[in-house]
Subunit: 213 residues, 2 copies
């Protein structure tokens, strides 16, 4: 039995939910509320499972694993019914690079703990925090839009859903939540539209989770 | 012919240099100076190659690829003389998670462009910037030390060098450069010592690069 410890609004958990749905893997979702109780990710029991105090964590029998990209690759290699990468080595590398453009360059800078540090340790204003948030998304999406001009079909890479789409959709969700102007990214918007039609993506939307509030 | 566009002090480029050395891949290094000329990563010719304005970029014939983790995986799948991952799916996933703990949780927060934003846009003091830098390394290394207690042998995962070591060593280099107290991380220090004996790691050290200044 596979269990995913996550949080409705965590974009890293959102990525993994899409993967579980696409691969039709039976699983249980356990909510780790990142705000309630001072953040349940800091609870003694959760930190034993994940000393980084971060979601998600996947538990598969007696095997536990953190880091969304590592989890998605683990699921991809363990459940081969649907592949989340192209088979060609070069194409696979390009998909992985697109995923890292999102997961290593944009998301880490706008994560909850970083925003908390900016407010609590650096005492920056809400306007400065919004500018920070927008800055990294606009920088990242501007570069991504140029890359997608070379790789995209219906999705980030050609006409099959890949790990890149699993990283892009949660990042767009965050961008919209913080009112980033998305009108300048036509390719990103097209891919979002195409993914929004797929039931596996719909079921993974934060507002469709049991712990959404 | 393989060409790596990098910079002596870029830890993402440093990771790839180690991989190229371990796999004994003949290659050329081209320096993109991140400070000189206002940052050569912003030059028109480089941005055509890498619209993210970041190093490294690998060029293999007419194929170009960004993102150090994607590059390392591409090299690992293309040159199979030495493997940078364990063969077992679960072990491989754990190594990938360790690499992401470093490459997605620590490094992006302490990257040059982020430090520049903190100074130029948020006007924080040098002391605050040092505290920021130390904070993310100490958070990340504290969790990593606990994980290594379960996985480490001579290196991060057992007794073979993996991608996790390729990410760890450059991160330690940065930590020392910014005078982080490393005495509280005995396992990390042991692994650093063991890697420091390997010629492939020695040749990749920033100060041993032609563009070091």
């Amino acid at each position: 039995m596979i269990t995913l410890y996550g949080y409705w609004r965590s974009s890293a958990a959102y990525r993994v939910r899409i993967a579980l749905n696409l691969k039709k893997i039976k699983h249980e979702l356990i909510s780790v509320h990142l705000v309630k109780d001072g953040g349940q990710q800091h609870s003694e029991s959760y930190v034993k499972l994940n000393p980084n105090h971060l979601v998600p964590t996947l538990v598969d029998g007696d095997f536990s694993l953190n880091q969304s990209l590592a989890i998605i690759d683990y699921l991809d290699e363990s459940f081969t019914n649907v592949s989340l990468y192209p088979s060609n080595i070069k194409d696979k590398a390009l998909v992985r690079a697109l995923a890292c453009d999102l997961a290593c360059e944009i998301h880490p800078l706008n994560n909850l703990r970083v925003l908390q540090y900016l407010s609590n340790q650096l005492n920056i204003s809400d306007d400065q925090k919004t500018a920070w948030y927008h800055h990294w998304i606009l920088e990242g999406f501007s570069a991504l839009e140029l890359r997608l001009a070379k790789t995209a079909g219906q999705y980030c890479f050609g006409d099959s859903v890949t790990v890149a789409d699993l990283c892009l959709i949660p990042q767009i969700y965050n961008a919209k939540r913080f009112n980033v102007d998305m009108s300048v990214f036509p390719l990103i918007n097209k891919i979002e539209h195409n993914c929004s039609l797929l039931p596996e993506f719909i079921a993974a939307i934060p507002e469709n989770q049991a712990d959404a509030s």
